[in-house]
Amino acid sequence: MKDTTLVVAGMATLAAGTYAFRLSGQLLRARISFPPRAGKLLEAAAVILLAALVATTALTEGHGFSGFARPAGVLVGGVLAWRKAPFLVVVIAAAATAGLLRLLGVR
């Protein structure tokens, strides 16, 4: 770590800002009268964000492609999850698939 003060400032910014996000959604909800349809839409919005997070963390590294091993692992995990495999099996299978593929030389 080069500049501890700056890094701590960055962490504090991230922590405070994240807390503000967590709080403001709840506070806004208390003020806005809230039709159930909007609730469904927001739920969909959250799922969309998480799906995008899955896609980007699975397929990309920085601004480029992450390589095949990681998305392959995530895909295996996804298929298992879809077929209602136990959660831990899903996660371990994803990691094991990616690890094995790399062991076999697939990047």
């Binding site: 700056l6 994240t18 959604g25 739920e43 799922v47 997070l53 963390t57 920085g62 998305p71 690890g99």
Partner: protein
């Protein structure tokens, strides 16, 4: 806490425990990666406790380790964490002060209803034990025993409840059928993550040098797999699935061109078709409302089966 066990089925509790275990394992890799990237052990410990949002912490570590400005890394992390705002909007009132939540943190403050007067009621904690002799006045002395803890209790609950809002706790809350179950699932999972994420991070940081190449173990595939497994029950809804795929495509297409974190937010444009579709499809809506009556139950079951059953 005992009320959590009463409100949630054993299956849901087990699923939450497994999710927390997964978080703990990811925390291990996070702590190890942080130390391997040149951060001191206290850093992942502090960040995991104060931020409690895995993706943004990985992002922060990655950007700073790559030589990026820490404040820029914080902004990128905030972009990733902006999803917590819609989370707060989507959640039912879980941390709010209007429900004093006898179901949740009851025992110490307001909860005679759930925890039962026979257990923690006035008889035990009351004047008999702590009252007149020694500890009573010392502990409760500063204020009126009744109103004081109740007020601070709410403030505390709001503060902590806000801090434990994360992907997992929100997903589990949304998957439950009624408000008490939602609240119990939220708190159980939120507090579990609040313990497991930093706990894993610290242990991972301490082990640190042992796992140099997290890629070799496929640990990098775990994070997306965890999130994916958690949203699979939602993705069984065809409309949500389509929107999620569209959003993921948008995010992927934008990744080469936008700063880290922005593509995920840009995925929100996939909500727009849903906005337009619903009002026009009147007949579909009638079907949808008929379905929505049964949907939460099916959702909850799907969640129970897919997320857990370990």
């Amino acid at each position: 806490m005992s009320s959590i066990y009463r409100t949630l089925s054993r299956g849901v509790l087990r699923d939450i425990a497994l999710a927390c275990l997964a978080v703990w394992v990811i925390g291990l890799s996070y702590g190890a990666i942080a130390v391997a990237s040149g951060f001191p052990v206290w850093f992942p410990a502090a960040q995991s406790t104060l931020v409690v949002a895995g993706a943004s912490e990985f992002l922060f570590i990655g950007i700073v380790a790559a030589g990026g400005n820490p404040l820029a890394a914080a902004l990128a992390g905030l972009l990733v964490n902006a999803r917590h705002l819609p989370y707060g909007l989507a959640l039912p009132d879980i941390t709010g002060p209007d429900m004093t939540g006898p179901d949740m943190t009851g025992p110490d403050m307001t909860g005679p209803d759930m925890t039962g007067p026979d257990i923690t009621g006035p008889d035990i904690t009351g004047p008999d034990l702590t009252g007149p002799d020694m500890t009573g006045p010392a502990v409760t002395g500063t204020g009126p025993a009744v109103t004081g803890p109740a007020v601070t209790g709410r403030a505390w609950r709001r503060m902590v409840g806000t801090h434990v809002m994360n992907d997992e706790s929100v997903v589990f809350a949304l998957a439950q059928d009624d408000l008490p179950a939602k609240r119990a699932a939220y708190w159980a999972c939120g507090l579990g993550v609040l313990v497991c994420w930093p706990g894993g991070a610290v242990l991972g940081a301490l082990i640190g040098s042992a796992v140099h190449d997290t890629g070799a173990f496929g640990l990098d595939a775990m994070f997306p797999a965890v999130i994916l497994a958690l949203i699979v029950p939602d993705l069984r809804d065809r409309m949500t699935l389509r929107a999620a795929l569209a959003g993921a495509a948008v995010a992927l297409a934008a990744t080469p061109f936008l700063p880290a974190g922005l593509p995920v937010l840009l995925a929100l444009v996939a909500v727009l078709p849903l906005l337009r579709q619903r009002p026009s499809a009147v007949t579909a809506q009638a079907g949808a409302t008929a379905k929505s009556g049964a949907a939460p139950e099916a959702d909850g079951k799907a969640g129970e089966e897919s997320v857990g059953a370990g």
